[in-house]
Point group: C2
Chain length 727, copies 2
Amino acid sequence: VHFPGKVTEISLPRPHGKSFAHRSELKQAKRIVVKLGSAVVTRGDECGLALGRLASIVEQVAVLQNQGREMMIVTSGAVAFGKQRLRHEILLSQSVRQALHSGQNQLKEMSVPVLEARACAAAGQSGLMALYEAMFTQYSICTAQILVTNLDFHDEQKRRNLNSTLHELLRMNIVPIINTNDAVVPPPVPNSDLQGVNVGLYDSPPGTDDAKLIDIFYPGDQQSVTYGTKSRVGIGGMEAKVKAALWALQGGTSVVIANGTDPKVTGHVITDIVEGKKVGTFFSEVKPAGPTVEQQTEMARHAGRTLASLLPEQREEIICCLAELLTERKEEILTANRKDMELASATGFLPQPLINRLSLSTSKLNSLAIGLRQLAVASRDSVGRVLRRTRVANNLELEQITVPIGVLLVIFESRPDCLPQVSALAIASGNALLLKGGKEASNTNKILHQLTQEALSIHGVSDAIQLVSTREEVEDLCRLDKMIDLIIPRGSSQLVRDIQRAAKGIPVLGHSEGVCHVYIDADASIDKALDIVKDSKCDYPAACNAMETLLIHRDLLRTPMFDQIIDMLRQEQVKIHAGPRFASYLTFSPSEVKSLRTEYGDLECCIEVVDGMQDAVDHIHKYGSSHTDVIVTENEETAEQFLQQVDSACVFWNASSRFADGYRFGLGAEVGISTARIHARGPVGLEGLLTTKWVLRGEGQTVSDFSEQGSMKYLHENIPVPQGGFH
Amino acid sequence: VHFPGKVTEISLPRPHGKSFAHRSELKQAKRIVVKLGSAVVTRGDECGLALGRLASIVEQVAVLQNQGREMMIVTSGAVAFGKQRLRHEILLSQSVRQALHSGQNQLKEMSVPVLEARACAAAGQSGLMALYEAMFTQYSICTAQILVTNLDFHDEQKRRNLNSTLHELLRMNIVPIINTNDAVVPPPVPNSDLQGVNVGLYDSPPGTDDAKLIDIFYPGDQQSVTYGTKSRVGIGGMEAKVKAALWALQGGTSVVIANGTDPKVTGHVITDIVEGKKVGTFFSEVKPAGPTVEQQTEMARHAGRTLASLLPEQREEIICCLAELLTERKEEILTANRKDMELASATGFLPQPLINRLSLSTSKLNSLAIGLRQLAVASRDSVGRVLRRTRVANNLELEQITVPIGVLLVIFESRPDCLPQVSALAIASGNALLLKGGKEASNTNKILHQLTQEALSIHGVSDAIQLVSTREEVEDLCRLDKMIDLIIPRGSSQLVRDIQRAAKGIPVLGHSEGVCHVYIDADASIDKALDIVKDSKCDYPAACNAMETLLIHRDLLRTPMFDQIIDMLRQEQVKIHAGPRFASYLTFSPSEVKSLRTEYGDLECCIEVVDGMQDAVDHIHKYGSSHTDVIVTENEETAEQFLQQVDSACVFWNASSRFADGYRFGLGAEVGISTARIHARGPVGLEGLLTTKWVLRGEGQTVSDFSEQGSMKYLHENIPVPQGGFH
């Protein structure tokens, strides 16, 4: 184990003397010691404190303390504070006279005397404490100063005194701030702690090709610790910290060593750790049985490459086998599902619609199996399809072929039937897959995943699909940007939005909103208008392709058609909100909309008046989400202009917005609906899980052969590709 | 104009009494007053200071002061500080006795007396100043306290005294901290300042559908100021701030009003403003002649929609016209180009290669025109192509057609020939385009853009392509995520990396690195190996498709082939670095590589030894960048396995890596090379600038017609699409 400096340590003594096994348990910590590495409290130049960081630390400690925890700080920084203070005082006394006569910038230009660390510590201690006190006062928290030396711990009596002092302070809700009594101890080794890249412990010298942050460190791994010279970390630095951490762990205190200066984590590192997030290195005595999520991703990518290289009929076979298992082993599945249902009802936390979605039945499993068999057929024509073939020159042939994207992460809520569906999609497209399901379906997901692996094993690729522990935080998974190529959230639009926010650097396939419009033109057929509005709004109001705003041609106001539409909506108990222009036409209007961009997702909609087709298009461009928009008219010319102009993923003429769906479009299987403008748009089928690669076969050609002096010429002839052509 | 609260103001008095016209000039500000709104220094609950923000403000002020500027702070926060302090003292005195007996959490449970603001201010002032002093000391900066009341400014003598005090302090390099003497003035109106959404001034009540932050505010716009009741901003809040800003502006002081609490900007808001970034609202007396970049984007999107709706032959005509203009008006172009060249030589900042790329000539313009005419032909078959046609049911037909992506932002360096090329690509694909060129080519770019607009005007879409002012910061452009759909950087890999980092939420088409491998198999032909290695490394070493690592089968070590390859590389003056395994085979090895992931971009490469094809594939997967990888072998089976397994955008057999290029692939025009895994991969032609939309034509069908009780059935019949079929 190699490790860098610049660390913040945090240890979480467990009341009953047993350390926590998992990060997720850190939430329960009652007493927390925050030890600040000197790099955390000082600035890079070591002159002066890093005030912003210090303030952030105080804020986080205050938040935790005010949650009822007992917080302690082991600080450093007195030397830095004192050095800056002494330097300043000395320069000031030298310079006041000159400054008065000759103007500014004197201070900076003067030479700084070399200052002794012990003197600095003495001069800085009181100022540092005053700063802590002033800062904690802002959170109604009292602090107390505790100065100790090494020897204090060797004296039994002193140790007992210290212990009882600390206990008394904690009992009085006071935060003890502990520091070395630097004025009476040997000065610290300079820079012992400040080198190296920094986030926690690494498995190789930080900065080298293979260095990876160790997420969880087990005492058993200590043998492999090598204090590499490359890491330039002094003995007083990280080795001592690891030893202290292991010693604390033996005493039942959990420890996390993390970087307190990384701009990516600064601001929340302490509270993030307590919330169980993957920050720094967590010391644990309990080695979990399974692989870490990083190991799972690696295994999946590796097996996925084999999956991709299978013959299409082999992938088809795996999917058919999974379909078979779903019906053959339905008793096991339903038993596990009943267990989840019972737990969900017992806790009573889950709302009824979610419980319905959680439940499986024989008929659900049967139709799931039918869907999988259809997908198996579709899978024949996916990976390795030749899209384009070009004769670049004589005996130099180029092909563009479809290949899997790589490793997919699918995050789904509640519905366990999602698991075999998504797995089959991944198998059909040759992609590796990480599955993260909801906790409420964990028993069902577990058996379904086992069956999936069983099916995969017939061609030796059972690792290609991995089920991620429910303990993993979605946010942590979204950070694996070097390992995951595409994230597909399947669930509420809130889930999608959260993931889009968290997934920095990984593309997300999905849509977070569907503000769909139906425009009733002046030339609309009354029957079609009624049917389409009713179906678009009422068939399934929570769907993303449901109508949210009804746009009506102004000539239709106060016509029988208009009255019938309103009557129908009232009869269907749709709550109507009026757009500003619609409201201005009415004497007694319904409540005016707050925003024309609202996605109601319920039996509610907005009605607005427009001057005509062009005005409707402008409204849709201004307030829509480019999902699905509909025109109802009998005028073909108006319709074609609407279809051409509206810049949405789906544009319909005289058809319900609810048709915007992979199954209804006949795409075979639906991966999701995308409102992104690149890669895949609208309902996405299997091809949304594929990308392409270019394969060039030559006989030693170089580009200089094609230069003006060269012997060869580009031909660039298209070679026709047969439908469904494979290499 | 409506506006929210929570503001930090910053004013930049110009020494000679004239305010700055543009944000970019703010860098020159010598004297800066930072006024902190009360929301900036207090926490949300108004009890206590926002210490992190305060520390960050101190740090930024210190940085600017230490750059030699004269900084002043107008603070607030004494009341908050004092309120918290008094509350704490009172509670403490009440509770110490109880706490000693009954344990913790007493403080929180006790009732807090109502405190008078003036008393709080008096109690807080000294603490606040002590905090400022302690903080600034950490940056070697002295502070001074100045307390004033309204009346002090009405008394001529007092004003003069104040003025001379401030001047003297600034002369001595001391930061004056100015505050109201709250103890002797009427208490402030509570919350007058704390409502609303917050980043600066808005053109509509913040939070409504249309509200946009005003980037630059001109005094002439003041008539349109409406202090809307919706914004809930008291008179003492924003109106007073705008008035003060305009008054300061009249006196020659530039003002920026910005949000100091938005987490997106906090941390750097003050230094960002001084660096000229688009933060908050800038007050300027000089109204720029042209539209803002936001207006340009809107204009481009609007005209782009018309461009997209033109007939293919009309877009073709525009491109041909542009090609014509490039030769017809070459004198104008070359004159402007000479001006740029002279300026570049005169300043002497530009390195020679960049100057070469800047220069245009008649022959360059001619070949540019030829390229454009080829693109015109290719453009016929781009927008509106039918990719798929499905009969969903009787009289319900679905089409998937190609459409433009929307608004592209192309950022290019030096080479002005990029402008007509990229413009022609945008026209061919029906996309709107924002162009951001380098300052060094501004004259050439200007005339080339004029000609482009001239060509566009033949079909009334001259606004579809906009040239962005050279003053605009790339970083600010990358923030327009609701307005721009795709960014294409054309330039160095550093430019691409910077833009990928800055472009949060907007996809970037490009590659930041190309670590390409050539693997020489045991069955390689010696001649092919020599030619391919030489061409791949030496033809153009700076290209992204040049070889960086040469992988050699271990059986080839110490064979004549191996020696010839090394001799050839030496002859071509290629510096060789040894991979760890290669180094271990040699007695006197070249310098060992630092990382096997290095992109040298020069006449340098790494050589590593592998056990065979499979080992080469593993090496490429571990250390490559998935750009272009090559196998040299005569064994077809080995080759096909390599082509199948290597997971890169381009995989070649017996051909130079330098063929990875849009022109060489015969794509007609190259948009760029992408190493992304979605949307477009490898060399990208016109189709990389297109997306699709789904068009459904029905006669009133609803999805309930297809339910079990319904009357209709899905057919999902494929309707064949003729090659190049258009709707």
